[in-house]
Amino acid sequence: MRRSPVLARLGVVSLIAALAAGCSSSPTTSQASSDASASAAGTTIKIGIDLPVSGADASIGIPTRNGAVQAIEDANAKGVPGGFKFVAYDLDDAVQGAHDPAQGAQNVKTFVSDPAVLAMLGPFNSNVAKAEIPITNDAGLAQISPANTATGLTKGDDAKKLRASHPDTIAFFRVNATDDRQGAAAAEFARKRGFKRAFKRAFIIDDNETYGTDLSGVFETEFRARGGTVLGHEHLSRGQNDYKALLTKARALSPDIIFYGGTTSTGGGLLRKQMGDAGLAKTAFIGGDGISDQEFITAAGDMANGGYFTVAAADTTKLGTARAFLAAYKKRWHADAGPYSANAYTVAQIAIAAIEKAIVADGNKMPTRAEVLKNVAATKNFPSPIGSVTFDANGDTTRPILSLYEIEHGKPVFVDQYVAHT
């Protein structure tokens, strides 16, 4: 979901398809911006928004963008100190129907070169974030993401490499939980809560990609740490679609739960489907947000029912703090909020609060990016639809929330949530 979900091969294939057909899908107007009516310079402060809002990612990208735009409209309606006005400077990072790191980087460069942009929100996908973080770090532009889960964006040596220009400056922040916490949450759910019983014997399968191996590695450690037994950990090889032999091997060890680290496109759906054929229909199945898509339910067919997955965000319909936001969203956009709309509203609110604080501190003058960045980093106990937000030294939220869903009658149903206090 927040990783590149499509096989690189498919990209090549569809390119050739476009050539073969002698025509290409209409080019995305990714440079379209909604600031055409911006008022005179000096009174306008722009907030950059970079999300995939066309093609396959649009169904998740547009409700996310709407959340951010709504926060900006609310701030303007309330009145901004110093007579300033906020404008959403909204760019699309999807090219040819899918999110694209190069387009994301290009969009961020556009934000950086516009002095009226004091903060940016997004992106949605971790690989896009990877291309953007070095640019915002270099420019000292505060970037807050509603949805990137890859652990290495903020933590460890990987994150340090992304901050090549200013290793000690954190310019990238996020309000959602990370993949390492997601693995831990799945282990916690499996061992202690969320289910009717605690599971003891897990068999782990991953798709041999970065996201899948990371997630399943964390699950393995955490499941053991909570007293569970890990019977085996196998990796799928790419392109394979017959998992019966592997599942027969797993079955011989009589696991009571199978954990899958990976996405639907790399085998999650078929694996779950073939559990039925391999005599594992009654064994529980849990995965990460890589299988939280509709695709999984289609690919796994009837076997999808009874499967569990985690999502690195709170289920807003269950949050008291989100109730007012969800009602306002529905009124403004005539549609239900998406899973990341509240996160987007929150990141926009954090950026707005940081800018307004800087305006006041400067005596109602246009603040600098450095001042805004300092204020964002100092965000503490910030009230928002997704609860109180505080950023830690890495730029991560100190209160990551994860949700567990079970698929019933072909639809995900919220089961439980887990707050990983840090």
Binding site: V6, L7, R9, L10, V13, S14, I16, A17, A20, A21, I205, N208, E234, H235, L236, S237, G239, Q240, N241, D242, Y243, K244, A245, L246, T248, K249, A252, S265, G269, L270, K273, Q274, D277, G279, E295, T298, A299, G301
Partner: protein, 305 residues
């Protein structure tokens, strides 16, 4: 031991699908020495044709009794016919003009046709896996501790029946004789009054029709299909044809079953087996080819079709 026998069944049923595809590879290679890389995609097309026919028949779930026989026959024959036509068209449009060109030219054309088919299927049914209705009731039979499902019996039995039918066709019919003659010496066959163009077209018709049948079997067996299905399966089936001795019909089937078996057994008994099963399969292939360059049955039956 139960696990071992269970894996044997898993391997044989997977191998049955490979064998069905391998038959088509081996026939085309036998007669014009072309590795028809588009064959794997014709097989995928077979799954989509079967699906389309089932949808047209209004079948979306299990069918029983006499209706099952009817539905299965109509679907298999329909899919075979449509795939056969596609195969003949491919030969006519993409290969015939290149028959006397350097070997590399039709090979590259074959890869091109493969890309075209993949993309047409992607445009037709989208880039995601498509569910295939569970037409056949799937009871399991327990033999000791080993479970064999009806679908597995179907996959194995189908491959054997098709192989025997094909072998009989090639050795017992007049067209089969023409195919063997064309394979041995095209010019001499032409001098003897054999219409080489028709014979080669018939070869593509039959080979592709087998892919159509394999498409139905695989759709029922896996309960799902997608446009890229034929890439991995086609590669494995090609390997099976080479392992068994390319151009040799029983060899293709033997190769298919062997590769399925090696995959399943390696997955079970090699640590991290799911990841390494392909390595084991291709290591065996390399070893076999070092000692028997023309494949397992390649020399004992030099007659190629």
């Amino acid at each position: 031991m139960d696990v071992f026998f269970q894996q044997l069944i898993n391997g044989l049923s997977l191998g049955g699908i490979y064998a069905l595809i391998a038959l088509g590879y081996t026939m085309v290679y036998g007669i014009i020495e072309l590795i028809n890389f588009a064959h794997g995609d014709v097989y995928t097309l077979g799954t989509f044709f079967s699906l389309a026919i089932l949808t047209a028949l209004g079948v979306s779930g299990e069918v029983h009794g006499i209706a099952l026989v009817g539905v299965a026959l109509v679907t298999i024959l329909g899919s075979m016919l449509l795939c056969g036509i596609v195969g003949v068209l491919i030969e006519r449009l993409a290969y015939r003009r290149l028959r006397n060109a350097p070997r590399l030219a039709p090979l590259i054309t074959a890869i091109g046709v493969s890309f075209i088919l993949e993309n047409v299927m992607q445009l037709w049914r989208g880039p995601s896996p498509v569910p295939f209705p569970q037409v056949i009731p799937n009871p399991s039979f327990a033999l000791g501790g080993v479970e064999i499902s009806a679908k597995q019996v179907l996959a194995i039995g189908f491959a054997i029946v098709m192989m025997v039918a094909l072998q009989l066709f090639v050795t017992r019919t007049k067209t089969g004789k023409a195919m063997r003659a064309t394979a041995q010496d095209r010019d001499a066959a032409q001098l003897m009054g054999i219409n080489v163009n028709t014979t080669i077209a018939v070869t593509f018709l039959i080979g592709s029709a087998l892919a159509g049948a394999a498409g139905f079997a695989s759709g029922v067996y896996y309960g799902t299909t997608w446009f890229f299905n034929g890439f991995e399966a086609g590669l494995k089936a090609f390997t099976a044809a080479v392992l068994g001795g390319i151009g040799n019909i029983p060899g293709a089937m033997l190769g298919g079953f062997l590769i399925g078996l090696i995959e399943a057994i390696a997955t079970q008994y090699v640590p991290q087996g799911a990841q390494w099963s392909n390595v084991v399969v291709f290591s065996v292939l390399v070893l076999v080819l070092i000692f028997r360059p023309s494949g397992l049955l390649g020399e004992s039956l030099p007659e190629k079709v």
